[in-house]
Amino acid sequence: MRGLNKKLFSILSIIMLLLLAACGGGNTTTDSNSNKSEDGVISAKFGVIAYLTGAGAAYGEAITNGLKLAQKDINALGEVNIELVIEDSAGKADQALNAAQKIMSDDSITAIIGPTLSTEFFAVAPEVDLNGIPIMGTSTTVDGIPEIGDYVFRNAVPESLAIPAAIKKAVERTGAKKVAMIYGNDDALTKGGFDVMERTAKEMGLEITTIETYQEGQSDYNAQLTKIKNTNPDLILASALYNEGAVIMDQARKMGINIPFVGGNGFNSPQAIAIAGDAANGLIVATPYFGDSTDPKITKFNEDYEAEFGKKPDQFAAQAYDALFIYADALKRAGSADKEAFKEALAATKDLEGILGKFSFDEVGDVIMDVTVLEIKDGKFIEFE
């Protein structure tokens, strides 16, 4: 009886195995040479490195959510089939590099998206470029990112495009002459944003009353703000991520500082309003993504995202969403998941209609697109007039 059972069991397992193999065949084959299945669908695997644990995990979460939504929409179209391999970088350059090495050790990976922070990107991209794997940053806005190598791209709007646009409009309307500055000095994004702000302020002939710094995750900004308050500026240029930025604005308003703030890319998020409430009124940012826009592409994206993840998307989610569509488009034109062909197709991306508007790469792989200047008024982002 025991022997019979054993035999039955092994026969059953073989049948199961065969069934499994039959299910697996056809649609996804990981070998890069035979990535085109019979029905003409090109399959590719993309590595994703995102900031998923630690102080800035909210950014990585938004980015991977955006990517997952895009993956669902792209695969539903049926032209290409994309698989994502997601790794955590914890916001640290060394961990991001480890994650990249893990992803690169898999030969079937066509290209990489991420990491989240520019600091991490500067550590990872040269290595990835050396291995001939295309890499694109969706949230890396510091100067000099696409210049790292031929295989390096980004669809994040650089600070050097966004910040001057915001400062110019803000100064035009408020007639500000004196500005105070505050920035996080331990992150490449906020430091890079500060450099652009300082440069722009000097070019425009604005008087800088004081320059203050803080470190990521700090909770008490009263000392810096008291100092700023006493220099009587007309405008505050704050190169901060929204997490810290919103708290800075809250403490500033409590102290009686009621002048407008101009922020960089990292400050532009509905979360800033969620954290600071009314105190967020008067924040001016330039962005490729305007969440409350009536553009049907954006309203559809917002609805889908909220239905899927239960919260409103921000610019990081939107840019990640577009990034995967840029990859999918390049994949389609390349006709295979071959890294070299994919890179050539990617570099040739021109006037691709994403949810953020028309998108092209310039000759080094940097983004060409229009930005909108927004301000928060009555607890809502509106277009800045």
Binding site: A55, A57, A58, E61, G217, N222, A223, K227, V247, D250
Partner: protein, 294 residues
Amino acid sequence: MLLEQIINGITLGSIYAIIALGFTLVFGVLGIINMAHGEIFMVGAFVGVTATGILGWPLWLAFIAAIVVTSILGYLLERFTLRPLRGKKGVSHLAPLISTIGVSILLENLSHHIFGAGNKPFNTSFSQISITIGSITIYLVQIVIFIISILLMIGLTIWLSKTKAGKALRATADNLETASILGVDTKKIIILTVVVASAIGGIAGILVGMAFNSVSPQMGLSMGLKGLAIIILGGMGNVKGAMVGGLILGLSETMLVAYGDSGYRDAIAFIMIIVILLLRPQGIFGSKVSQERR
């Protein structure tokens, strides 16, 4: 400007002091640096956010909730991570330090999962109440924080020096075995110490939430490290030292931002500790005789 910055510094310093009190209490009795204290403080802040923001409870109830939750955490910490390691042969004296680090990582990640990443606002009408004198605005919260820190310090000092439990606690701190031979229920005293220290951490959490309106799962780490620095500065296991050390650190950080470069804010704390330890190795209020505590 100077007066405003002094108020900022005292507020920050009082918060540091309250956190350091929790550290110093546990160190004084057990000779253990409780690395999970910062995270217990963070949990206290999140209980405050949940109680006032999501459940809509009044502030006093939020305080009680935070104290209850952090006390329970303190008990669990003692029961499951400290007690099993105590008095066993072959256990390194670093083992409790490592197990509390484990608890701190667990608590940080747990609150990350429950509350999500990023700052949570602490909405209470109480933190909006302010007094304006000339160009200076003082918030009631700032005064309350200062008063609570002073009351805690006085309360702890009286409790330690005058009450029976306090005397038992000091006896235990002096020598665990002798105290237990003399009829002190050392097990109870140790539980009491960790629970009281944790409850103080919980109070500090709510106060930080009210004062700075920013609560995040990562807030425990930097505050915890500052608290640790303060007890070294003030003298390990010394209540007065924790208070004075906290105020010195808070004020000097604020003054450095006000009249120097804000980029060196965190560095000053540790430079100052090195200097003070060179001049007074036992800390400002520390006793010269080093005690062997095991």
